[in-house]
Symmetry: C2
Subunit: 345 residues, 2 copies
DNA sequence: CTGTTAGCGCATTCAG
DNA sequence: CTGAATGCGCTAACAG
């Protein structure tokens, strides 16, 4: 048992196959034609030696590492169960383009680490998640000339490629659905403004469009903006339900608060959806199905967003498209049975 | 505007500082002593040129890449909100040891990709999450001689380093707490057996210890094992509550099912904790606080586990400890107000 | 305390 | 269709 100390190198393969080292490279890349005969010998030798090209050497000699980083600042809001859809979809698309996706968990503020890792020549491109309206990571990537794509938008929408949900559709779709069921007085539980402005830029428009659509449909809105916690949602809902003309439906855009709202609704003896309709915006499937009752929702196809972002980046990296590209994902309605016709009184 | 085409190299720094190239390296690593005078000149030159060592070249020439992969098969159960604690803690510990943590999202079954990435010489070590009782990734890592540490245990506990929760403490701690509040008849909602055996190895012991502790404390147990979904939990709880001698407390080890159980409890008009006590095992803080009411729980300090795992691996990588090491994290009780004294009838 | 010299494993000219 | 020669940027002996 000598124990193979080191991995086989290209030279080992060349020797065993009886060809020159560069021929092995060409057999691998297909950059120039090779006789079937020699190719087979080389393939056999590679298999026998269990050869894997050394990524460092490839990276040094060539210009690319084959690595793409997904900047996923986990501290930003923790993980959401749906996030894995993004990751899986992006991983797959990039793999087909010859790139490995690695998740970079460091916080948005950790710009030094980001600058370091992209300056090191380790990373060919970056996909940014949890994008803020003004995102400091962008300057780092631009100044290091690193290709990148955003999942989300900054205030500056034109300069770089991004994909995002088309929030403008959400409000009208929600109103249309509930108004269609006869609801005329609808409660809205959103986020407090500071949450909005912090990073959730385009989301602000959701509410604007929602208000406009309500006007148009002749629906009265009772809007509460509360912090993202259960208690706040419960209190807000109790308040609205105890008004002289209580709402018959709730549009939520604040997951924890809606859980509190459900509690308030149920503890009043109201059944969902028979007595009260519930519709939530922008919630992951798992989160929507983890409450009781499950929540009918309007959101975006996360996997589609991620796939598109990955394709944008891959095209940029392979040079097949250098232009700035944008993509707005359509709103997706998912019926989980929490809405119904307005109750007859 | 010439536009700096390429990044500055070590040679550029050496030239500007008027020293030899290797001296620059030593100034960086501190592997040998350097006069303050020259060090300063070198540092200045690096700053002026905005120099960052090329990771590929470092990796090729040296033996290490400085990269550690966290095998985090996201498809396994999606993300849990608490997972980011693992990641952050491990990232930090490894950063201090000079390693960058990257998350590797590919599925457990994707052994080819795993083999490829570790054979490429890109990855110095691996931390495995979502460990199964028989985990195929281990063979790949062993055969490629890649250092690794498990978060979780396999059936084979002795051969490799791991960290894990000390599940054996959970049952007794739960019984002790509830018995101390006077509860004598306790419901248990666990997972169906196939879920156990699939991957959740040591967890089986949790129930064994729980049963033993109940015997000792003179507590009667009503155990239901159900699939991990809301409906199953609701039905199980309704069944148990409608028995002749209904339980006064619930120990849950099945997050979705407990949500259903809460629904069943509340809809009977029972208040938590005044009329009924609820205690859940192994739940993340966020999940526990996202339900209404929040759930008192017994679990493990995830960050501590991750920190320890990272330290084990770092020691292995830096050679400061080659031995196999194990760590069992103590049970942690977190009171969120869902348990109380048994109601007087 | 500092400089010189070999490679690390591979991609890519350049020749044939 | 194939081989030989250079160099990617750096580490680590080896020499002072």
């Amino acid at each position: 048992m000598s124990g193979q100390k080191r991995n086989a190198t290209r030279a080992d393969v060349a020797r065993l196959a009886g060809v020159s080292a560069s021929t092995v490279t060409y057999a691998l890349t297909g950059e120039r034609s090779i006789s079937d005969e020699t190719r087979k010998r080389i393939m056999d030798a590679m298999a026998e030696l269990n050869y894997t090209p050394n990524a460092m050497a490839q990276g040094l000699a060539g210009r690319r590492s084959g690595l793409v980083a997904l900047s996923f600042p986990v501290g930003e809001r923790g993980f959401e169960s749906s996030d894995f859809e993004y990751v899986q979809a992006a991983t797959e698309v990039l793999a087909r383009a010859g790139y490995q996706l690695l998740m970079w968990p460091n916080p948005i503020e950790d710009l030094d680490s980001l600058r370091r890792i992209v300056s090191q020549g380790l990373i060919d491109g970056v996909v940014l998640m949890e994008v803020r309206r003004e995102d400091p990571r962008i300057e780092v990537l631009q100044s290091t000339r690193t290709p990148f794509v955003l999942i989300g938008r900054t205030d500056n929408e034109t300069e770089f490629s991004w994909v995002d949900a088309d929030f403008s559709q959400w409000g009208p779709m929600a109103i249309h659905h509930l108004a269609g069921e006869g609801h005329r007085h609808i409660a809205v539980i959103g986020l407090t403004e500071d949450m909005f402005t912090a990073g959730y830029g385009p989301v602000v428009r959701t509410e604007q469009n929602l208000v406009a659509a309500a006007h148009e449909a002749g629906v009265t809105l009772d809007i509460e903006r509360v912090p993202a916690n259960i208690r706040a949602g419960k209190e807000a809902m109790e308040l609205m339900l105890s008004s002289a003309t209580p709402p018959t439906a709730l549009i939520g855009f604040n997951q924890p608060a809606v859980i509190g709202a459900i509690e308030a609704i149920v503890s009043r003896g109201l059944r969902i959806p028979e007595d009260f309709s519930l519709l939530q915006l922008g919630i992951s499937a798992e989160a929507a199905e983890t409450t009781f009752p499950a929540q009918t929702s309007i959101g975006v196809d996360s996997a589609l967003l991620a796939t598109t972002a990955a394709r944008f980046l891959a095209d940029q990296l392979t040079g097949s498209s250098a232009e700035v590209r944008h993509f707005l994902g359509d709103a997706v309605f998912t019926d989980r049975g929490s809405t119904g016709p307005v109750p007859r009184r």
